[in-house]
């Protein structure tokens, strides 16, 4: 049953990318494609990040063991969308001016924080192969717990960018509290038992 699911999910996860690619090629992202791409890829990164975080609670709560096998793939899609997010910022907002890019990473706290989150996603991405899991042993799990930090940084990054209406950050922030709160509660419970 699992076999057909994985390719289907893979194709579904590619849809936002293909949609943006087609729109970009048709020059249909509006007058400011830089902004449109930044927003869209940023949001898809958050969605996939939270989807990755939702897998373990779903498996434990509803006993859907199969979805655990999707976790790596969805995690890698998070990294994929974050990469497009970063590159489109470098290309369209800063026109690949490397000095400006370096300056922005240092001077602008929301960018520093977003980039820190990206570094985490990057290190989780490159250590996601089976051989790396074997090689890192117990440290693999420790390293991959950094996803919690990355998700908090991502929310701060979002909150810092919003100018006047924080509705979006409230929605994503609530989701994050649920996803992280679930883990804290579970840990406390297991200690009590």
């Amino acid at each position: 049953m699992v076999r057909p699911i994985k390719p289907v999910i893979f194709l579904l996860a590619l849809i936002p990318f293909l949609y943006l690619l087609i729109k970009a090629l048709q020059n249909d992202l509006g007058p400011d494609p830089a902004q449109a791409l930044s927003i869209e890829t940023g949001e898809w990164t958050l969605r996939f990040l939270f989807l990755t975080l939702a897998i373990t609670p779903l498996r434990q709560t509803f006993g859907i063991v199969e979805i655990a096998r999707l976790r790596r793939m969805i995690g890698l899609f998070t990294f994929f969308y974050a990469t497009i997010h970063l590159v489109s910022w470098m290309a369209f907002i800063l026109g690949f001016r490397w000095f400006a890019i370096a300056e922005e990473l240092i001077d602008r706290p929301y960018i520093t924080i977003g980039f820190a989150a990206y570094i985490i996603l990057f290190s989780l991405g490159v250590t996601s192969t089976n051989s790396m899991v074997r090689r890192l042993g117990r440290n693999w799990k420790r390293l991959h717990k950094l996803i919690y930090l990355a998700s908090v940084l991502a929310i701060i990054h979002l909150l810092w960018i919003l100018r006047t209406d924080i509705t979006e950050a409230v929605i994503y922030g609530t989701l994050l509290i649920i996803l992280l709160g679930y883990r804290v509660l579970r840990k406390l419970k297991s200690k009590l038992v």
Binding site: D32, Q35, I93, A100, D107, T164, T167
Partner: protein, 346 residues
């Protein structure tokens, strides 16, 4: 401070070929016309009435119908933009479709397309403007009466948003100074304060639960800035009436300042002795100053200000260009800030 002198810029750099061609054709047509039996005076009038002389017109299918008949009459004679700076720039225009879909007007919503798509209920007729404070003639005026004594003209200005994007827009309007003198400000009028309409029935962004702006939107200028010849009140763009998303029926255009200074849909103008509070300055004083002059040397905490995306961008033509001091209008406005530290008065 880096102010590029106009002489540094080659004419070929600023006047696109298409515009040269248009002008040649226009001159040719004009010559044919003059060769006929019609006198010079009437020929010019009729050209202006047809709008042929305007540098830019909205695409025929997108032209708006007049909000009321007096608008059509007012728009029947518009002085075309000149051929030289500062009231004209030969840089290629941002297309009408882009100017009217990509807007910041939070009263209609946070997304750039919200003002265009969520302003269907917005009414600009009738429209009154309340004049208060240090003037000899305060009162509530119908917009029609305010516009009666002014002559409409076309101006092609760069618009630089604090978010680091920019456009080139052909406005229709008149110098703010022409409006101000109607109300006879007193010697105490040192600042001018403007307010945008608040109508929660037709402006859905006002009702957003987590919006942290307190309406109405407020902006202000020093009196010398307000009466600078470049400071413009726009009632149209691309030869047509202003759409709601661009600040109908009347909005400010201050081309050397960041876009948020150019307040939209004005219902109140107050003349005062002290510097007024302004919306963005109240919200985040460290990010948005009262002066908000375009300044590539002073970065905003969110956006670096020494470059800008000239819209429309595409994947192939990224058009990330250098931002100029005072948005390139320094020659005409820098003198107002002599002796001021523009890093502290950002």
């Amino acid at each position: 401070m880096l102010i590029k002198k106009p002489s540094d810029i080659k004419p070929s750099e600023i006047t696109p070929e298409a515009m040269y061609r248009n002008r040649r054709e226009f001159i040719k047509d004009g010559t044919n016309f003059l060769a006929g039996s019609v006198g010079i005076g009437s020929s010019l009038t009729s050209l202006a009435q047809d709008g042929d002389a305007l540098k830019a017109r909205a695409p025929a299918a997108m032209r708006r119908s007049p909000p009321a008949s007096w608008w059509a009459e007012k728009f029947s004679s518009i002085k075309p933009a000149p051929d030289s700076e500062p009231n004209f720039t030969g840089e290629s225009l941002t297309p009408y479709e882009d100017v009217t879909i990509y807007n910041n007007f939070y009263e209609f919503g946070m997304n750039k397309a919200d003002p265009a798509t969520r302003s269907g209920e917005f009414k600009t007729e009738p429209w009154t403007v309340e004049i208060t404070g240090e003037v000899a003639k305060p009162g509530k005026y119908d917009l029609e009466n305010i516009l009666k004594p002014v002559d409409l003209e076309e101006r092609i200005y760069r618009l630089r948003c604090v978010e680091a994007w920019s456009m080139v827009i052909p406005w229709i309007g008149f110098p703010l100074a022409d409006l101000i003198k109607q109300f006879e400000p007193t010697s105490k009028a040192k600042f001018v304060e403007f307010e945008t309409i608040v109508d929660s029935d037709s402006m859905p962004g006002i009702n957003s639960r987590f919006a942290i702006v307190s309406w109405p939107y407020r902006e202000g200028l020093r009196i010398d800035e307000a009466t600078n010849p470049l400071t413009f009140m726009a009632v149209g763009l691309y030869g047509s009436y202003l759409p709601a998303q661009n600040g109908a029926p009347m909005r400010l255009v201050v081309p050397w300042k960041y876009g948020f200074k150019s307040i939209k849909s004005i219902v109140k103008i107050n003349f005062r002795e002290t510097q007024p509070n302004t919306t963005w300055n109240d919200l985040q004083a460290n990010e948005y100053g009262f002066y908000a002059n375009v300044n590539p040397e002073v970065h905003h905490p969110r956006w670096r200000q020494d470059m800008e995306r000239r819209l429309p961008q595409t994947l192939l033509s990224r058009r990330v260009i250098e931002t100029r001091m005072f948005n390139g209008y320094g020659e005409h406005v820098a003198h107002m800030y002599d002796g001021m530290d523009l890093a502290s008065y950002y």
